[in-house]
Symmetry: C2
Subunit: 350 residues, 2 copies
């Protein structure tokens, strides 16, 4: 059976490196994945227009092969002082412990939207071969402009209804994010609980009703997972945690070690406490201590701004108990190897 | 690669019909699955010793092929009057609406344990080829007695740590229940949240560390799921929802129709409200109305006894809003067909 997706984006392996935001997807990581026949992807979620362009150009300097980029679609939010004050109160013990200061500058929704459109323009100007979106579906003109420039567009969905909405929007393919996935949930129509569907159930029901190519994401760490995703009907697998611990990844060393050293008694869990949006990571003190108030915290990205100083200070202090240690449900197979070694394991090992 | 599990239990297809309790697994269902080359299983969770024997003998009358049975391992619980009174209060609106009476007789843990040992003796006397256990690991003498009689024993686990405990207990194989699964969660070391791991992540990490055969359960509805489970390293797949809607299944017609007519806006969810133990089913009024108090309700099986009259009355009134509509995360592929037709689809369709 011809693989529509691989042909469309001209890659030889059904492997997409998940566009993890926040400095993980270095140009070296992205270019190495593409060089090895997969699709490397820049996680541009927290970048402005100029850094987005810079990052794209660095990847281009590292590979002539196709690569992609991911943008966060802004969701309307308000800067609510009372919520922010309550959140600051909840964060105080961590700020004191880590000797960091309070943040008082927040980006408005209008500014966030402006940055998003700057990014969109950069992606179009730089003709990035593939652009995926998370947290929603961009306005029709964004999708249209990209498609007119020959950019392959990919949406992110967590339920069949969301997949149908992505298809309806005219995007070329859809990443189905299973409940196994590390990092932020991509739900935008479903609530978080409704969005927690395992890939074994999610992929078949999606490919039965959606005509565009489906990419499976969540808990896939090795060749077995890629094969299983293909059996279920996916045309490719998107792997995050497996690439996060690679030598070329820009993830903090503490973060990498936390994943590599996961013990049986450790667990991953969902939390809103770091960013205001539910995400899966290794459970630590911060998540546990914020558990009771997490649903009263400000929305993304306000809470993300609020916790920034705590997360940075924790990283500098080698304190994994206050860092966001995003991780999928299958960290056991993670290895501290190069992208080249990982890609070979993903396609060659029997 | 030889399939150790299939050889050990002498079946030709890597398909196990999940032992759904509460009247679903009629002798006809169980025998038909075994006749078609899979492993039919009696869900004996709510039966006493004599009905267990009766059910086994009925299956034997329907097939000469191997079949299995599942027993609930009793977990210590107390009859706490204050909790029961609060639960009765919460149930009142439903009891009034459905014109049913309050239950005042509860089985003690000691009685439950006695019934369990009666069942164990029946299984041994009747030499049922396969016996699986849910909700925990039985005492060593139970496992030993069964193994001495040549009965193949299977544990149920939801995490790697639970799978290792099953292996350590001496059981012959382990069912790994993914977060996709319908019905009761089988967690016994992990808490419910920790137990919610998707099969895509759960199976590889288990087969890498456990030597006994692994069976995948949860969200598997068709050939694609079975193949995927095998790619991940499972030796067989256990299917519940797919068999629940079969013509031979004893599930209430309302329950079957609720699954067959699942719409995009419907959802499955976990609830403790029906039985005192978390289970996945189609969300309805009962689950929603009990949401706020569900974690204050008595433990299994007390809450199960308390809701019995409501569930029965609802079934008699064709009122699916107060019935427990257990269902996995992939109901879309459910069909009202015979076991024979389903088994052919599971192995033959390309």
């Amino acid at each position: 059976m011809a693989n529509q997706l691989l042909e469309a984006i001209s890659i030889s392996r059904p492997i997409i490196q998940a566009p993890m935001a926040g400095g993980i997807t270095t140009a070296e990581l992205v270019a190495s994945v593409s060089e090895a026949g997969g699709l490397g992807m820049i996680g541009a979620g927290y970048l402005d227009g100029e850094s987005t362009r810079h990052q794209i150009q660095k990847v281009k300097a590292g590979t002539n092969k196709p690569f992609g980029i991911n943008l966060f679609v802004p969701t309307p939010y308000k800067i609510e002082i009372d919520l922010i004050e309550k959140a600051q109160e909840a964060l105080e013990p961590f700020q004191k412990k880590l000797d960091t200061s309070v943040v008082n500058e927040f980006t408005s929704y209008e500014q966030t939207l402006e940055t998003f459109y700057e990014q969109v323009n950069v992606v179009i100007e730089e003709k990035v071969p593939v652009c995926s979106f998370t947290f929603g579906i961009p306005a029709p003109d964004v999708i249209l402009s990209m498609k007119q420039k020959g950019i392959y567009t990919i949406g992110t969905a967590t339920t069949l209804a969301e997949a149908l909405a992505v298809e309806e929007s005219g995007m070329d393919a859809v990443v189905m994010q299973g409940s196994e996935a590390g990092g932020h949930r991509g739900n935008f129509l479903a609530d978080v609980e409704q969005s927690m569907i395992g890939l074994m159930a999610l992929i078949p029901q999606t490919v039965d009703q959606v005509k565009i190519p489906v990419i499976a994401a969540g808990g896939i760490m090795d060749r077995r997972g890629i094969k299983a995703a293909q059996c279920l009907g996916a045309q490719a697998a998107q792997l995050g945690t497996a690439f996060l611990t690679c030598k070329e990844s820009g993830a903090n060393e503490i973060h990498k070690q936390a994943i590599l050293q996961m013990q049986q008694e450790d667990r991953t869990t969902l939390t809103r406490a770091f960013s205001g949006k539910s995400a899966r990571g290794i459970e630590n003190d911060f998540i546990r201590d914020m558990r009771e108030v997490e649903w009263e915290l400000p929305d993304f990205p306000i809470q993300n701004t609020l916790t920034k100083s705590v997360r940075s200070a924790a990283a500098q202090n080698n304190d994994k108990e206050a860092m966001s240690l995003w991780c999928g449900q299958n960290p056991n197979a993670a290895e501290p190897i190069t992208v080249w070694e990982l890609m070979h394991k993903l396609v060659d090992e029997a």
